[in-house]
Assembly symmetry: C2
Amino acid sequence: MENLKFAIFGCGFWSQFQLGAWTEVEGAECVALYNRTRSKAEKLAERFNVPRVYDTAEELLQNEKLDFVDIITDVDTHAHFVELAVKHGVPNVICQKPMAPDYETAKRMVKTCRDAGVNFYIHENYRWEAPIRRYKEVLDAGVIGQPFKARISFLSGFPVFDNQPFLAELEQFILTDMGSHILDVARYLFGECKELWCQILSQTPGIKGEDVATVMMKMKNGMPLYAELSYASIVEHDSFTTVFVLAEGDKGSAYLGPGLEIRTTTRDGTTSEKVTIPSYEWADPDYIVNHESGIPINRNILDDMLGRGKAENTGDDNFRTVQLVWACYESAATGKIIDMDSF
Amino acid sequence: MENLKFAIFGCGFWSQFQLGAWTEVEGAECVALYNRTRSKAEKLAERFNVPRVYDTAEELLQNEKLDFVDIITDVDTHAHFVELAVKHGVPNVICQKPMAPDYETAKRMVKTCRDAGVNFYIHENYRWEAPIRRYKEVLDAGVIGQPFKARISFLSGFPVFDNQPFLAELEQFILTDMGSHILDVARYLFGECKELWCQILSQTPGIKGEDVATVMMKMKNGMPLYAELSYASIVEHDSFTTVFVLAEGDKGSAYLGPGLEIRTTTRDGTTSEKVTIPSYEWADPDYIVNHESGIPINRNILDDMLGRGKAENTGDDNFRTVQLVWACYESAATGKIIDMDSF
């Protein structure tokens, strides 16, 4: 079978890891890159042997016959490029998370793709991290029985504002950025949320948005789930670039903690396993858990395009994560519990 | 100065530890014991050299001139014995936690004592546990700066229902029992609660009340605080008979975890200290953290009676903890956030 041909829009920092992950997946071939600043696209093209480079997305779409595009531009421009690809008849569109800068735009993007019969995928990679996948296997194996409560923590002091000063200017920060990941992991592991109460704080001096959020959820299956996110944390074990999870069930508990270690406790005692991840030439060893996750998510999306599997991160599915993010803001603003069925 | 003379009402399991703790405190002398089953009182009197034993509380109160009584009977009878002591002109009354089996009774008890000019104290000992005291010192020393969020966990699989089968029959269980402790520790460490949302579960088969509770609070100072209580937990580190606390501040974090260890993390790294507790002949080494706490709380109450200090656990103060417990039940029943100012 011939490779699916795709183009990448946006050749910023993240694109090298996305393109790197694609090189590990059989069946897809990057034929073109578009970037506003051409030199960046040329550099990336050279590194990954991509044949053609374009100054504008329109020109690329007019000249290339694509099976899909992978949009890795700034969040503000996601809708524009998704709509452009749809207009040019690209049958499959992948868009980086978070889907959109606001709830209404996300809603419109999903509708645009649905109306055009375009397969829409969101590149939400945290649920694809090896420790999270393995943790889900532990839950599904029934070792700890039926989970009845859980807590998910992303507590980090990673200097995000030093590295990316524009983040300090965002009116909304950690819930749109990390919240998308964490709330999606919550859905992946424990199902859908019925109600939530969110509190947000702005701890780092001089930033506009919130860098701390705590979310108490009641899941549809009745279990309470506490999620905490923070970029203002000075903790012994920084959870960047993954999350820590403690789930308790009627037969035991499972803790995904520091060092990608899963500690499973039953009445017979505690067993430990460390999740290991191979290294890749294109990935940063310091962020390997994050970078490697691009491989299985890309494979999962490709399988869906080829009709040999179902994608988890469709636009429709990810829209439920988007809803959680904006329900959190609504809750924080009003001080009220949000009922997800009527959000 | 002459010793203050006191009597104990109730010679059940806990009374030995309470009486043991009193033997470590200078200035108070137990002169009489009352118990429904006289033989139990006699046994305890013999062990701790208490001169007189009574079959009824009335007889004791008529015959003894007391500076205070220490009530260690079943929770259902607390109000009765408090009121009896007040009626007999005992100037100081100590009552075991939880204050009362319901909110209205607690309210009445506080009023009865206040109206009679009787000093009323609740023996709420968890905040007096050595690791909790030390943890408070760490917070107060400013090492981690101003706390902006916290989480308190009591996750245990201690077989309470095997040891005390009547607990399975209670309509309300873990919030009245352990909740009193945990919510009081929350107040002690982080101040008063503004709003809370509580979810409860009944996990152990065959029990009437709840054995799991999660409480999301918004404190008056604006910080979010998550408290989780469970007797259905099978976890690697059982927190019985204390609690684990993680507080995060703008300069670092402090974690009170397994083994009575406090790990304090700042930008300079992590330091660890283990809280040690001396042993006592009357205390059970397995529960030393809990039993030892009786000494400082008794000392604190005695100082208040003698006018040389202020008691922390007055009836008025503890009533705020009682309010939290019943606000939790109200929240769990209605599914709503409770505003403590209007509860």
